[in-house]
Subunit: 230 residues, 2 copies
């Protein structure tokens, strides 16, 4: 029997119009659509896709991942999800695993794709618009004002954030919501406080745009992105 293929489909940052034609065609071609479930039981990627694609005939699989700070616990979550996906693929179904933003950048898809390939199945990524590109558009920001300076994409929980802040070029700090209070202190210490703008839940209901860090809360949405100008 033909084995199914796992597609990691980037569905963009939140606005359903920022989905690509390839993402829609790929989802339409798969009988099974899988999506990560948030701790609150929501499935944001699925909610976005429903606005662009008719999912009435699809089998929907909600995957639950651990958000634990313990890496081993998170790994067990990925292994459980990969096992569930492999069972579907083994029965011959192609599966579209929805991924917010792009599937190569801090992506759920990448956390299971290696395990799925190791089990003998084919995987393909369909690129998407990363959230920080939508954030830059929302802020009218040029992420690369110099042709010769780099752009750094840094998770808020990065080891060595202060080293990253000292590098030349623009810095984008992702998933900053839970750490905003602490980050504000770090950014003030690094002398870049005045150069920061932020967008939370870009293109989604409740979007928040802050151009002066004094006006930012100490704890924000999970999808809070900072842009630090060079």
């Amino acid at each position: 029997m033909r084995k199914g293929i796992l597609y990691g489909v980037g569905v963009g940052p939140g606005d359903p119009e920022l989905i690509t034609f390839k993402a829609v065609r790929t989802i339409q071609s798969c009988p099974v659509v899988a999506a990560p479930m948030t701790s609150g039981g929501g499935t944001l990627a699925l909610d976005i896709v429903r606005q662009a694609v008719d999912l009435a005939d699809k089998r929907i699989v909600r995957l639950s991942f651990s958000m634990s700070r313990d890496a081993a616990e998170r790994d067990r979550g990925y292994e459980r999800a990969a096992a569930e996906l492999c069972e579907l693929l083994g029965s011959g179904s192609d599966v579209a695993l929805l991924n917010l933003g792009d599937p190569s950048i801090y992506a759920t898809f990448q956390r299971v794709a290696g395990l799925v390939r190791a089990a003998g199945f084919e995987t393909h990524a369909v690129p998407g618009v990363p959230s920080f590109c939508a954030v830059a558009a929302r802020l009218d920001a040029d992420l690369t004002p110099s042709e010769r300076e780099p752009l750094h994409i840094v998770p808020a929980r990065a080891a060595g954030l202060s080293d990253a802040l000292a590098m030349p070029g623009t810095k984008v700090v992702m998933k900053a919501g839970a750490h905003l209070g602490e980050l504000k202190r770090d950014l003030a210490e690094a002398g870049v406080y005045e150069r920061v703008s932020l967008v939370a839940d870009c293109g989604m209901p409740g979007e928040l745009v802050v151009r002066n860090l004094d006006e930012a809360p100490d704890k924000g949405s999970y999808f809070t992105t900072l842009v630090i100008r060079p």
Copy 2:
């Protein structure tokens, strides 16, 4: 009279299926479509868009930019283009300025948007899929294998490339074609030669995928992107 609005439309990395619905709708809503002309007289962004949108009723404006190494000469090119765009906007036409990839990352749009805003016109960016996301998908690469390490987007002509190579996390080196011979030596010296893959002209005719740098030419296409694993 109503002033026109300048839209910087990210049209993605080359595959016309990787255009978003918002990009298509924005282009359709504008009577004028502007696109940068390459030194050879081609208009790659326009060629990509033609495969996804009917441009028959549009006024097409080809903008010529200087590729000079002299920054002042390049600036004069941006000023000429901005003046041409402002004239169109002043006559009340909305203009869609096509931009390969995303309009916030090493983008033609950003080079003229500030000048156009300074002349009193409104600009909006429509995000797109950056080329490095398509390159990562083509290579089955995870650009962020650790949740706690950054991702660095570095132009091949960056001042201090060796500093960038020494940073933790994945490095993406863009527009590397003209400098490949030199880069190969730098990458060998930095001890990362074996960790490099590259894609040239991703998703376009003549696409080249190289997983062993020994097989890379010393001079490649302008759209050559390296991925350096951590």
